[in-house]
């Protein structure tokens, strides 16, 4: 997973982030290893509070400090460690090489700037284009996301949620970044608009040839867009593989629980939804062993003592579990 070949765009090694709060130290991300190849789309799945957004913000070095603190790890982007960059270098990377689409389009646009100006802002921060060229490029970007040029001088409040998110996408892609981080880009939108926006992200990803880190808790979205998927639980990566392998054979008990929790159209009416018993652990007080062990139906004594750590169980299929499901020595219900 941590190979050093040139096709690797982003390589996160042993990243730990914590927040010092009044109620204790929150271990948001713990010793995370993750890599993303050029041109690929990686789905980053986990429940609320699993540390997905924190990881994304850490990649951009946007974690507010205090209270946030990156305690260990390196983030290699195009071979350079983002952790060691100066403020100016970080600013150069942000937006230009790594861009982000935010969760809520209602609040992620500046209410007092026209949408064209907001795209222009991004372009003029990172390119040498002048005057007319900038605004021409901004209108191109708007056209690309399907917004008519006569709307360019309108303000965000004059757009619907879906259109605003498309503006957000236009801003993010304006400088053709190498990596696009989409932080739950469709959570705040209704289902029909979701499909549109996802389709757009998918199409543009191939047009602009950017890598995509898609943060979500919707396994369906991941299946539609991504090639690889990483499952996160309580600040740790628990399973990582390509879509086919992971959706075909989820190996970590947590991943299996996630799949079981997805409602099915064929399931009998009035039946209860499957849930994973228990609650995610308190991030200020994580269990000693595997953080999923208190909720895991297959947990053994060793699970409570020490976490297994990621290991390659099948080709390119990594699991953080002593007893991966469906594997020799593992257990099945």
């Amino acid at each position: 997973m941590t190979s050093r070949d040139t096709s690797v765009l982003l390589d996160i090694r042993d990243l730990s982030v914590r927040f010092n709060t009044d109620s204790g130290v929150v271990h948001a991300v713990n010793h995370l290893n993750l890599s993303l190849h050029r041109g690929k789309a990686l789905g980053f799945v986990g429940e609320t509070g699993a540390g997905k957004t924190t990881t994304a913000l850490a990649i951009l070095r946007l974690i507010q400090s205090p209270p946030g603190q990156i305690t260990s790890g390196e983030i290699l982007f195009e071979g350079h460690d983002i952790m060691k960059m100066t403020e100016a270098e970080k600013r150069h990377i942000r937006g230009n090489r790594i861009a982000m689409i935010f969760q809520d389009p209602m609040t992620s646009l500046n209410p007092i700037m026209t949408v064209e100006d907001q795209i222009t802002e991004m372009i003029s921060l990172h390119s040498n284009l002048m005057g007319n060229e900038v605004s021409k490029r901004a209108r191109e970007m708007l056209a690309l996301v399907g917004i008519r040029p006569e709307r360019a001088k309108d303000y965000p409040h004059q757009f619907s949620g879906g259109m605003r998110q498309r503006v957000g996408i236009a801003i993010a892609l304006a400088c053709e970044p190498a990596l696009l981080i989409a932080d739950e880009p469709t959570t705040a939108l209704d289902v029909t608009i979701q499909a549109q926006v996802l389709e757009l992200i998918k199409d543009l990803q191939s047009v602009v040839k950017t890598s995509l880190l898609l943060i979500t808790h919707d396994l369906g979205i991941v299946a539609e867009i991504c090639q690889d998927v990483a499952i996160m639980y309580a600040g740790r990566l628990v399973e990582y593989s390509d879509i086919r392998s992971l959706y075909g054979h989820p190996m970590h008990p947590y991943t299996q629980g996630l799949f079981n929790a997805v409602p099915n159209l064929d399931s009998p009416l009035g039946g209860k939804l499957a849930v994973i018993p228990g609650l995610p652990p308190d991030p200020t007080d994580l269990p000693k062993g595997c953080s999923f062990s208190p909720r895991c139906p297959y947990a053994q004594a060793v699970c409570h003592e020490k976490a297994c750590g990621m290991r390659e169980v099948a080709p390119n299929h990594f699991v953080d579990c002593y007893f991966p499901l469906g594997v020799e020595g593992g257990q099945r219900s």
């Binding site: 951009l60 946007l62 205090p66 970080k90 600013r91 150069h92 990377i93 942000r94 937006g95 230009n96 861009a99 982000m100 935010f102 969760q103 809520d104 609040t107 992620s108 646009l109 500046n110 209410p111 007092i112 802002e121 991004m122 921060l125 990172h126 006569e150 709307r151 001088k153 309108d154 303000y155 004059q158 957000g168 801003i171």
Partner: protein, 283 residues
């Protein structure tokens, strides 16, 4: 929806419905006009003395009467509007710029920077404003510029606190994080993203502060610390008129009225702007 429905346009539409604010603006424009064209419209010079016409009540020749040196009160009031408007505008600019910067930096960066800046502001707030202004203007000496500085400094903390509060509320919004993710520098975010979004409360506070500053300047001049004679200042004119209040009451009444009308007009404008700039109050 037609293009270019800018906030300015909505604000103007809402402002026009508020008759008091419109009236305030009319008064303000009359004042600005009289300040600019004082030489043309005033019937006499502000220091022209006529010893045959001492403390004359209002008449056709001297519409608002004459003072103890035979100077035309109307002319002095017209010239005096220059001082008042200048002091109001420049003193408020001083406190807006300095206080705004302190508040913006404290609010945006937070932490220790914020604590230090705000404690300094708290210390200043602990000193009664009038006392502070008297100390500053007696230390700097009398004069127009020093008067503006003194008045300006006294209202710095109010602007700093207001600014800080607005910055804090704007800072938490997602579009600020989005701007950082775009690679914008701190300075750029403060100037282009935060300040314009904080403008509404600051505009209102500034308008109301202009009224306050004019009153303050009049107070200092009344105490003899502001503008020096013979140049007319409304507060100074009140002070000069004090010995004659029994015999020639109009000498006190007219400058007092001028001050009052100006303050009321500015307050009406401030209230009107506050309502117009707050979209939540839309009916």
């Amino acid at each position: 929806m037609p293009a270019n429905n800018s906030m300015l346009k909505y604000t103007l539409i809402r402002l026009r419905r508020n008759y008091l604010a419109v009236l305030g603006f009319v008064v303000l424009f009359v004042l600005i006009g009289s300040a600019i064209f004082a030489e043309r419209i005033s019937p006499f010079g502000y220091a022209d003395q006529d010893y045959m016409m001492i403390r004359q009540p209002p008449s056709a020749q001297h519409l608002l009467g004459t003072d103890q040196f035979g100077r035309d009160v109307l002319s002095r009031l017209i010239y005096g509007s220059r001082i008042s408007l200048q002091v109001g505008l420049i003193a408020v600019s001083i406190s807006l710029i300095v206080g705004g910067a302190i508040g913006a930096i404290g609010g945006y960066f937070g932490g220790r920077t914020d604590s230090v800046l705000m404690r300094i502001m708290d210390v200043q707030l602990a000193i009664p404003t009038i006392l502070l202004a008297i100390v500053i203007s007696s230390a700097l000496g009398p004069g127009l510029v020093n008067l503006m500085v003194a008045v300006g400094i006294t209202s710095i903390p109010r602007f700093a606190r207001l600014m800080r509060a607005s910055v804090l509320s704007i800072k938490g919004m997602e579009f600020i994080e989005a701007a950082r993710a775009m690679g914008a520098s701190h300075m750029r975010i403060i100037l282009l993203y935060i300040l314009p979004n904080c403008a509404a409360p600051l505009i209102v506070q500034s308008t109301l502060s202009v009224a306050n500053a004019i009153l303050f300047a009049a107070t200092l001049s009344f105490l003899g610390l502001g503008i020096q004679p013979p140049f007319p200042e409304w507060g100074g004119m009140l002070s000069d008129a004090r010995p004659y209040i029994r015999d020639s009451a109009y000498l006190s009444i007219f400058p007092g009225l001028a001050i009052m009308i100006t303050i009321v007009a500015l307050n009406c404008i401030g209230d009107g702007l506050r309502d117009a700039l707050d979209p939540k109050q839309k009916r």
